[in-house]
């Protein structure tokens, strides 16, 4: 799976970091960094949770993952 973030929509609410801290990190500059753009399948549930909880719907999982 591939993570795509719409950085125009992202408001750095850091809910993705709660759900999948090894993939998403909001740093002290206030910006979101993607730590793994293509995380392993073992992280799918966590990444889907991150996408689901994002308050600005900024996270998309490509390649057949849940939208």
């Amino acid at each position: 799976m591939k993570i795509v973030v719409d950085f125009d929509a992202c408001m750095s609410n850091a809910q993705c970091m709660r759900a999948a801290p090894s993939v998403f990190e909001v740093r002290d500059d206030g910006f979101l960094y993607i730590l793994q753009e293509e995380p392993p399948e073992s992280l799918r549930a966590a990444v889907e949770e991150a996408a689901r909880l994002c308050p600005t719907q900024a996270i998309t999982i490509e390649d057949g993952g849940a939208k």
Binding site: A9, M11, S12, N13, A14, Q15, M17, R18, P21, V26, R27, D28, G30, R52, L53, P55, T56, Q57, A66, K67
Partner: protein, 392 residues
């Protein structure tokens, strides 16, 4: 169970449909929504949409093409026949269901003194936001915002950034007082003042001035605030009237157990702004925020499918005002003590904990998004400790 009717087509209703599918439900799902618009996001209405930086398609709620639901938009649920298990629509149609999801949300609370007239607005729906935006585009420049809670504060910030002359009015002495407590509410007040928003606080509003169109508001102290637009943000009222007489227990919302099961009826759940759940850590409460609608809808869907999963997620809310980001994790109570744990109340960023008997109940973040995950874990640990059987 072969059929589910979801009443409410906003975030909680749509999330319930997604969760039902995710957890394997293959029966029919009908989603009834009283607004004509396809489901949309409400948070941008007071921010990006009102500011004009996000257009209409941008505020649509995202959903998979494979959801497989029957949309009944522009249809209002008028009552519930719990005996026959029908949702009765305003036009008389009856929708039989086996499982029911109540996600009718809340509506803007209308103060007694409010009157429908040109230039006077409340903000809850997309149509409300379009009307305010159009009023600004038509040249309105002086705004009186009544209610310095979450919506009023955001609208004040957005309109002020658009170059409007804004007066923010509230009966409390500081903005966001009930949500955040005084020391932190004072930080919000400072932000409004720093951006040139005039604050008329600790004073009640008596009424609108102007006859055919709103010309401002009259305050209880006799003072008149002239304006060519008035926006009222006076809280929200849960939409439960359609359930009167149905047997469902109503108590400032739909009274639910910890799993989202509605009291007084079988195989019916509630989620989102309309639902009052028993939370293992915070007790019985109703939350009107984004993430709660998603996590409650998920618990409700699983409960409807037989799982009976308690909803234990810790509430989260955020607000963007001016160039600042406010975030709150947990549910503080007015008697909690507030302790700044990073930075200081005068600093451009800080983190504060709300504590009861030395135990964290909530955390507030001012321009400190990078600390949210860590302190959320702190609150979750406190909740787990307090209620070992059922915490996250």
């Amino acid at each position: 169970m072969r059929s589910v009717v979801i009443v409410g087509a906003s975030l909680a209703g749509v999330s319930a449909a997604k969760s039902l599918r995710k957890h394997g439900f293959t029966g029919s799902i009908s989603v009834v929504g009283d607004e004509p618009h396809p489901p949309y996001q409400r948070p941008p209405l007071s921010k990006q949409f009102l500011a004009g930086t996000w257009d209409r398609p941008r505020v649509d709620l995202r959903m998979p093409d494979t959801l497989g639901v029957e949309w009944m938009l522009g249809a209002r649920a008028a009552s519930l026949d719990a005996y026959r298990r029908d949702v009765v629509l305003a036009d008389g149609r009856r929708l039989p269901f086996e499982g029911l999801v109540i996600a009718t949300g809340a509506r803007a609370r209308r103060p007694r003194w409010y009157a429908e007239r040109a230039g006077a607005f409340m903000l809850r729906t997309l149509d409300d936001a379009i009307a305010i935006r159009d009023h600004v585009r038509a040249g309105a420049r002086r705004f009186a915002i009544v209610g310095a809670g979450f919506i009023g504060s955001e609208v004040a910030a957005t309109l002020s950034a658009l170059g409007c002359d804004v007066t923010l009015i509230d009966i409390e002495p500081v903005p966001m007082l009930r949500v955040l407590g005084e020391p932190i509410a004072r930080v919000c007040l400072r932000a409004h003042e720093a951006h040139g928003v005039r604050c008329e606080l600790g004073v009640a509003v008596e009424g609108l001035t102007g006859t055919s169109s709103a010309q401002g508001v009259r305050l209880a102290d006799g003072h008149v605030i002239d304006a060519d637009g008035v926006v009222v943000g006076a809280g929200a009222t849960p939409n439960v009237e359609w359930l009167d007489g149905s047997g469902i227990v109503l108590d400032d919302g739909v009274a639910c157990d910890a799993t989202g099961a509605a009291r007084g009826i079988d195989r019916a759940v509630a989620a989102g702004d309309v639902a009052r759940l028993d939370h293992p850590y915070y007790g019985s409460h109703r939350v009107e925020h984004w993430n709660n609608a998603i996590t409650q809808a998920d618990a409700a869907a699983r409960t409807l499918l037989g799982g009976a999963v308690p909803h234990v997620a810790i509430p989260f809310f955020w607000s963007d005002q001016y160039d600042s980001k406010l975030q709150l994790v947990g549910l503080p109570s007015p008697t909690d003590t507030i302790r700044v744990v990073e930075g200081s109340l005068d600093a451009p960023r800080f983190v504060a904990l709300y504590e009861r008997d030395g135990v964290a109940t909530a955390a507030f973040f001012f321009n400190s998004m990078h600390r949210v995950a860590a302190y959320t874990a702190t609150i979750e640990a406190a909740a787990r400790e307090a209620t070992p059987a059922a915490a996250p």
